[in-house]
Subunit: 195 residues, 2 copies
C-alpha cells in the first residue's frame, strides 16, 4: 500500500499541525512504559513477520468489531445502520497503522499524526475524514479497553513463522508498549487540561 493510495492517511503530510505534546512528555511516557531501543528493534523485526499478514490481522479485528453491535455502532449512523463504506475506508488506514507502529521513528512527524488520529476519535473530528454521518465520537473507555484485544490478537501472527518463544515474547511486549503509548497520546484531545 502506498501512502498516496490510502484516502485520509496523513502521515508525513507537512500541512499537519505540530503536536502539542512535547519531546519531554513523550520521553517521560516512554520511560514509564519501559520502552527502549531494544523494543524499537523488536518492532522492526515484528514487521518483517507481520507485513505479509496484514489483511488477515485486519480480518480478525474487523471480525471482532463486526460481531459486537456495541462496537459496530461507532461505524454506524446515529440510528444504528452500519455504514459499509466507512468500515471499508478505515481499513487500509488501519493496515498502515500496523506498519507505522512497527517501522516509524517516534519523532515529531509521528507525534503530529498521533494527535490527528486522537482527534479523529473525538467530536472535533470524527467522521470528517470519510465524510460520513455517524455517531459523534468513540468513547474514551473503548480506546483504553482496546489495548487488550489489539495486543492479545497480534501474538498468533507474531508466532506464525516459527520464531523462538523468547523472540516472540520480545516482539509482543514491544507491541504492547507501542499500542499503550499511542492510546495514551490519542486521549490528549479528550481532556487537554488533565491529560
Amino acid at each position: 500500500m502506498s501512502a498516496s493510495a490510502v484516502a485520509g492517511y496523513r502521515f508525513d503530510d507537512a500541512d499537519l499541525p505540530a503536536s502539542p505534546v512535547t519531546q519531554e512528555e513523550l520521553d517521560h511516557l516512554r520511560t514509564t512504559l519501559l520502552f527502549s531501543e531494544a523494543d524499537e528493534r523488536a518492532l522492526r523485526r515484528a514487521w518483517e513477520i507481520l507485513r505479509d499478514q496484514v489483511e488477515q490481522i485486519l480480518d480478525v479485528w474487523y471480525g471482532f468489531v463486526g460481531s459486537h453491535p456495541h462496537l459496530v455502532a461507532y461505524f454506524s449512523t446515529p440510528e444504528g445502520e452500519p455504514i459499509a463504506g466507512y468500515l471499508a475506508a478505515v481499513r487500509p488506514r488501519f493496515g498502515k497503522w500496523i506498519e507505522d507502529t512497527c517501522t516509524r521513528a517516534y519523532d515529531e512527524t509521528w507525534l503530529a499524526y498521533q494527535e490527528e488520529i486522537g482527534l479523529r476519535h473525538t467530536p472535533a473530528r470524527k467522521n470528517r475524514t470519510d465524510g460520513v454521518r455517524s455517531v459523534s465520537h468513540i468513547p474514551l473507555r473503548y480506546l483504553i479497553a482496546f489495548i487488550h484485544p489489539i495486543t492479545a490478537t497480534i501474538r498468533p501472527f507474531l508466532a506464525a513463522q516459527g520464531h523462538s518463544q523468547e523472540e516472540i515474547e520480545a516482539m509482543h511486549q514491544a507491541w504492547f508498549k507501542a499500542v499503550t503509548l499511542q492510546v495514551a497520546l490519542w486521549t490528549r484531545p479528550y481532556g487537554p487540561a488533565t491529560w
Copy 2:
C-alpha cells in the same frame, strides 16, 4: 490486612455514592476486553499465589516510581519535595487493590469504589484522602501508560510457585484484562461527556 486497618480504604463503605457507570456499560467493556468467567477464576487462583508476595510486589512498584522523578512528582509537594507520609499512606491501599482485583465480584459495590479511585486521581479529589498538599492530579496519560508496567511486573510473581507456563499465562492475561478494565473505569471523571 483488615479493611478497617487501612486508612482511606472505602470498599464496602455504604456511604459511597453509586457509580454513574451502568451495568450495561460495564458488560460492554468486559466484552470488549474478552473478560470471561474463566478470567475471574484465573484471578482467584492468582491471588493464592500473590497473597504472600504483596509486600515484594509493592517494593517493585514503589522502586519503579521512586527511581523516576517525573513519577515521584505526583507524591510530592507542588515545589517538588516528596511527601514520605503520603507515599506510606497509599501503600496499604495499593496492597488491598491487588487483593480486590483478584478476589472481588465486579458488581455495583466494586463499581462504586472504582469511581472513587478514579476521582482520587483528578483535581476533584486528589490529596484529600490523605490530607496532603501535593500536585492537583495524576495526568490521564500516566493512568493509561501504567497498564504496561503494572501488567509486566506481575508476571514473575505469578511464576514464583512453579505453575505451568499455560497456567501462568492464563492468570497473567486475566490480570492484564482486569487492570485495563479498571483504568478504563478510572478515566470516567476526567471527561464524563466523552467517556
